[in-house]
Amino acid sequence: MLLFLKANPLEAYWALVVGAFGSTNAIAETLVKATPLLLVGLGICIAFQGNVINIGGEGQMIVGAILGTWVGLHFQHWPGWLMITFALAMGFVGGAIWGGIAGALKAYFGVNEILSTVMMNAIAVQLMNYLLRGPMIDPAQAAMASKIPQTARLAMAYRLPRLAPTRLHLGALIALVLAFVVYIFLWRTVWGYRIRAVGKNPHAARYGGIPVKRYVVLALLLSGAFAGLAGVIQVYGVNYRMITDGSATGFTGGAGFNGIVAALFGHLHPIGTIPASILFGALLVGANKMQRVAQVPSALITALNGLVVVFVVSSEIWRIRRQRRRLAATAGEGEEAPAEAADAPEKPG
């Protein structure tokens, strides 16, 4: 692909590696980029374990950030730690609402969650554009009669602490801790167990007395909440304000989608998503460097991410076949593989 673009592949890849890991700053940047990917990815782990597909990370990030930013601008004189905690909670709530709507639509109206989350993305983008050009626009912009769609800056005290001199902020640590929390949630709590049970086989789960609909909503709601958290952490840790270029990717950096890639690459396991997020964070940072050094547009990374998704999903069949062969082997010679192993995961339209 790089040869096709008439770029020296070695030079390009070297630029990518140096750009991502070449200095303290580069490593910090990589981790900064990895943070929203990990948070969105954790939400994706929860949703996909429950066999609901959440494509709405972009919209959930936006709504979480809107709520979190609004409280930060509205209440100016709180102690910093209190406001940051409150803002994070609001981000969590905002994302949860946006994801929860899609969950309720799926559970109670049978609306395919893939479609509703995509629509909710578009709605969130327009909502953001409206608020940032109108009600939430930076008063300074209005005073200068210029109309850059952005909010005012947050107070200094409200910023997430940084690991100076780099841009690495506390959000990375929060995301890391939450990865373990999600792991414990999914595999060590009743709710987590039920979400996974619903994901594995909704009919069996219903027979086992689990209110399936409620857990479908819960899975999407939690999934959205983590994306919302990612959104608010972007604001409080990186930009200190919300700004839009009219598209979703302007604010989120595409993390709502790339988080899916990271989670898939981490085998939908919260802990596995940690290195996967760092890898894709490195790709994103390195791509910028590559663009400067070797004139390879960073859109290449988007295309490659797409291929990664396709390959990861496609490779599932080898795992399933291997598992079936193992089951057949343990079941004794001459016997057929148990039927449930052959059943592909069921997905209600």
């Binding site: 639509l105 629509m119 327009q126 909502l127 547009p297 988007t302 998704v309 997905k347």
Partner: protein, 309 residues
């Protein structure tokens, strides 16, 4: 507000609505065939973007709109082939692999645009076809009969798709594969072949859908110019209850609301434009809520099929 209801504005809204429905029609008809055979292709958006780019680029280089169309169909077919291999042979989860193809199309079209074209350029698009008598009719003329060949072809596709799905052997095969692949297989229908056929056809139509946007309506290419149209097309298939006529209704409804919204901005109706742009998406969700629970999807939708033994 009164301006909105003058005759000329209403005609304008209807005419743009009819025109804007064309990309949705190509994409939704293609997706209808795929879903009827049990394959949920979420890569439509990516296929549209690549189709839009290649149509534009080939037209820019060769000066031939028809070669551009052909290129769009070709790249759509290739994407369809890849999707078919991944979902039929490798039995990948269809929803997620579709997203993969979306990201691939999004990135690649952007990449190629930056490398090969660079700046925003326009081309000479298809001229509108003047039909004697019909085009000159008052009201009906501007609304229905002053479009270009790409728009007419989109509407011609609807009865054709209906006929193929409901009155031909291949249509019967497609439907039976989507409802009960096991039974179809035991009757000797080659499930994999049928699905390959519908996915590739869907890819071709998605590619043309993209082309209808870049060289049929707007005469430019921009990064991410489809901005979610492919996903809306998938939603419209659900809305249209997997029937070509239903899909036509959905596409028209959606494009009419969109046209209304565009005209409201042109006329300066005091609704913030961002909230107006939101309308079609909200409408889609509401319509999905109202219809989805009442109609039944093809039973085997999004389920991979594997022959026993």
């Amino acid at each position: 507000m009164a301006k909105l209801f003058s005759a000329s504005v209403l005609i304008g809204i209807l005419a743009s609505g009819v025109r804007l429905a064309a990309p949705y029609l190509y994409a939704t008809i293609g997706e209808t065939f795929g879903q009827r055979s049990g394959v949920l292709n979420l890569g439509v958006e990516g296929q549209m973007l690549l189709g839009a780019f290649f149509a534009f680029y080939v037209t820019l280089v060769t000066g031939s709109l028809w070669l551009g169309m052909l290129a769009a169909a070709g790249v759509g077919a290739l994407m369809g082939l890849a999707m078919a291999f991944v979902t039929v042979n490798l039995q990948a989860e269809q929803g997620i692999s579709g997203i993969g193809f979306y990201l691939f199309g999004l990135g690649l079209s952007d990449l190629l645009f930056q490398k090969l074209v660079g700046t925003v350029k326009t081309i000479q698009g298809f001229p509108s076809v003047h039909i004697p008598v019909l085009s000159d009719l008052p009201v009906l003329g501007p609304v229905l009969f002053q479009h270009n060949v790409v728009v007419y072809a989109a509407y011609a596709l609807v009865p054709l798709a209906w006929f193929v799905l409901n009155k031909t052997t291949i249509g019967l095969k497609i439907r039976s594969v989507g409802e009960n692949p096991q039974a179809a297989d035991s009757l000797g229908i080659r499930v994999a072949a049928v699905r390959y056929y519908t996915i590739i056809q869907g890819g071709v139509l998605s590619g043309i859908a993209g082309a209808s946007l870049s060289i049929g309506l707007l005469n430019v290419f921009q990064q991410n110019m489809t901005s979610g149209m492919g996903f809306i097309a998938v939603a419209l298939v659900y809305f249209g209850a997997w029937r070509p006529l239903g899909v036509l209704g959905g596409s028209l409804l959606f494009s009419m609301v969109n046209a209304l919204q565009l005209w409201m901005q042109v006329l300066g109706v005091p609704i913030p434009s961002d909230l107006a742009v939101m309308m079609p998406y909200v409408l889609t969700i509401l319509v999905l809520m109202a219809t989805v629970s009442k109609v039944r999807a093809p039973s085997a939708l999004a389920k991979p099929f594997e022959r026993e033994g």
